[in-house]
Symmetry: C2
Subunit: 408 residues, 2 copies
């Protein structure tokens, strides 16, 4: 099945090189395709690393190893395999990862645990060691490439290349952050894992990089949903080479820490939204803004209940301002809510306020808003000061076609 | 939009009258349709009542009142309105319910709180008191009718009438249980609430009827899902008239308590499965059997995570034995699981065992099984003795058509 570029796609941005990061891609031919499917990022000595991983109880070997590796705080290389997720492959899967780590560590003269590996694609088939070996060998000898080649190389069922860039000033020093990501939902026989990588030349203490990434994750990657399904391999890694020469950021008291955290959050949010924009069958990008919850976590839970509701998502696909379905989704979220204080707006127009339909509600501007590609849905719970924004896409015939009609 | 009868529909069963229960239906014309949409069940004095209700935080007035009413333990009447759910209508909605209660109580010479009311249909519009008054007056004067007329009268977007029957022997006395139910998902502008009513001539202490109904609910109504969405009005009520003259069942020590509980469970399971069989767009009825969980609750949570996964449901719609998506759903359930002990079978054939694909896995019988209408999916977690079975349907283009293409 030929996948068409998502109507919500955005062009790949201009992104500067990051000193201390060298990108290369190669053909491991994990699938019967003629494209680069192995991505290699070489990182200079002293690079800090942080990561967030899927909470799946059935995570892949790559995730199990990665969780341990980021604790050490430093990394020298990243390898991403596209076309085979190496998930549900037992000890053979783990051996394949360890072979890649050994091969790269040998070439770079670093420790095997400083080589991070991600894989995405078909599950239940151990990553073929011979293909991986040849792919890694090819990547080690390849010419360096740019961000978009790397972004394309990590893709599987994605319909466009995804990248994001931000800058921050730390003292007198300008630092750059560049990120790439893949993910579009989950599609048979692949599991379209979300894999995101952020690189910066800033000098950041690993423990604090982890703290900032975890915080950003809660407001960005953890606030998106395409179909509510979670891959066994979802991973976001951040690498900081330190080559910008800024005064090292070690905590919130460090000069520029806030600016760096804001830039990191920016890149994470843009990357997260790009995944939604490539959601399977998506025709509309939906922002669900929840306010008035007892706290931010509760607001996020309500937002995700709305964003995961098939009835809300199909209503928006049908350009129907069906606030009754939003009431239903709020009710089922399992979070504190009061029916008689609930207000709901589409495109800034309140359809229901304080638990009652708005009497002089004019559907004309709402109908026009819903015909657009960018939908804004606001829910005010009226019981507290917690807020969160969650992003999702609509649920269309395209989703069913991709996931049901297509046979593995 | 004309809804076609579900391909998974079953014929309405033969069901005997229940002594102490008189059914009548009438036209309240809550919508612009020519059909009975108000159902009245008159119950003899001394009828015990028990109920389970939606856990929605935005429940309707009917649910709020009902939760309190069943605590008294006795009921004399049930009124069901179809076409208007009276949800999200504030104090005016509550007044409409209280007016119905007063009118029926006046006619029967009973207390207003002995009159239970349910409503299903469009939300955000207070139940029109004049239509309700005329409808109730009509029902009070109507000729008694049979089970299928009552079942048809409570329907909204259902595509077939749903009933279930079971018997039990208590001592020397045979008692009958008859149930009707409506629900098919949730459809704009209606919320296709699940409303179920079970009537028996057995003599049962109200508190114990509640205990048995709550227990049955956990293994039946709480084990079905069409789209993971929960109505603000879901309700199941059980009424026991006591006219069979059995030795009153007051607890598990009472003779026949186990037999009665088994029959009640039977009726609940059949009714619950009928709702799934009328799931919007459903083409396959799916049983998800989970075993080897740490406990039964955990097994049910894993089962619901699988049954609610759009990726699992679309795979089955596509007749694809995609066990990788099942692994994914198990992983995201948030329940204890061990990737390397997980086994998955379709139609009794293991596709994966102990965390690895089965080496000599023959897909031929599985492909044949998936072409059928009744799909069996078994998941063995291998870490405990907990088990549960959950029922759902597949996710098809029909669901999208009903929920997105149809405009309110």
């Amino acid at each position: 099945m030929e996948l068409q570029t998502s109507p919500l796609a955005l062009p790949f941005p201009d992104m500067p090189p990051i000193e201390g990061v060298t990108l290369r891609v190669a053909r491991a031919r994990y699938k019967n395709w003629d494209r680069c499917d192995l991505t290699f990022a070489e990182l200079c000595e002293g690079t800090s690393v942080a990561g967030v991983f899927t909470q799946s109880a059935c995570a892949s070997s790559e995730v199990e190893l990665g969780r341990e590796q980021v604790k050490s705080g430093t990394a020298r290389a990243l390898i991403v395999n596209a076309g085979n997720s190496n998930a549900f492959t037992g000890y053979r899967g783990r051996e394949a990862v360890e072979a890649i780590q050994a091969q790269v560590a040998d070439a770079l003269g670093c420790g095997a645990l400083e080589v991070l590996v991600s894989s995405t694609g078909v599950i239940g088939v151990p990553l073929p060691k011979d293909k991986a070996r040849e792919g890694v060998a090819g990547a080690l000898n390849a010419e360096p490439c740019g961000w978009e080649d790397a972004a394309a190389s990590i893709n599987t069922t994605d319909t466009f290349n995804k990248g994001a860039h931000a800058s921050a000033i730390i003292g007198e020093t300008r630092v750059e952050l560049c990120g790439i990501i893949k993910g579009s939902g989950m599609i048979a026989p692949d599991m379209a894992t979300m894999l995101g990588y952020i690189f910066t030349d800033a000098d950041v203490e690993p423990a604090f990089l982890q703290e900032m990434l975890s915080a950003a994750n809660l407001r960005t990657f953890s606030c998106i949903t395409v179909d509510g399904d979670t891959s066994t391999s979802d991973t976001v890694l951040a690498f900081a080479t330190g080559k910008a020469g800024n005064h090292r950021i070690t905590g919130w008291d460090s000069p520029g820490a806030d600016a760096f955290a804001a830039a990191l959050n920016d890149v994470c949010r843009t990357l997260a939204q790009l995944v939604v924009r490539d959601g399977e069958g998506a025709s509309k990008f939906i922002s669900v803004r929840v306010s008035g919850a007892v706290d931010d976590d509760s607001a996020r839970a309500v937002g995700l209940a709305i964003a995961n509701s098939p009835l809300v998502k199909t209503a928006i696909a049908g350009e129907d301002a069906n606030w009754g379905r939003v009431v239903m989704a709020v009710g089922k979220a399992g979070e504190p809510a009061d029916r008689d204080k609930l207000s709901i707006a589409f495109g800034g127009v309140w359809a229901a306020r304080d638990g009652l339909p708005v009497e002089d509600y004019d559907e004309t501007p709402v109908a026009k808003h819903l015909k657009g590609q960018e939908i804004d849905l606001a829910v005010e719970l009226g019981i507290g000061a917690g807020s969160a924004t969650v992003w999702t896409c609509d649920l269309t015939h395209g989703y069913i076609s991709i996931n049901a009609d297509y046979r593995s």
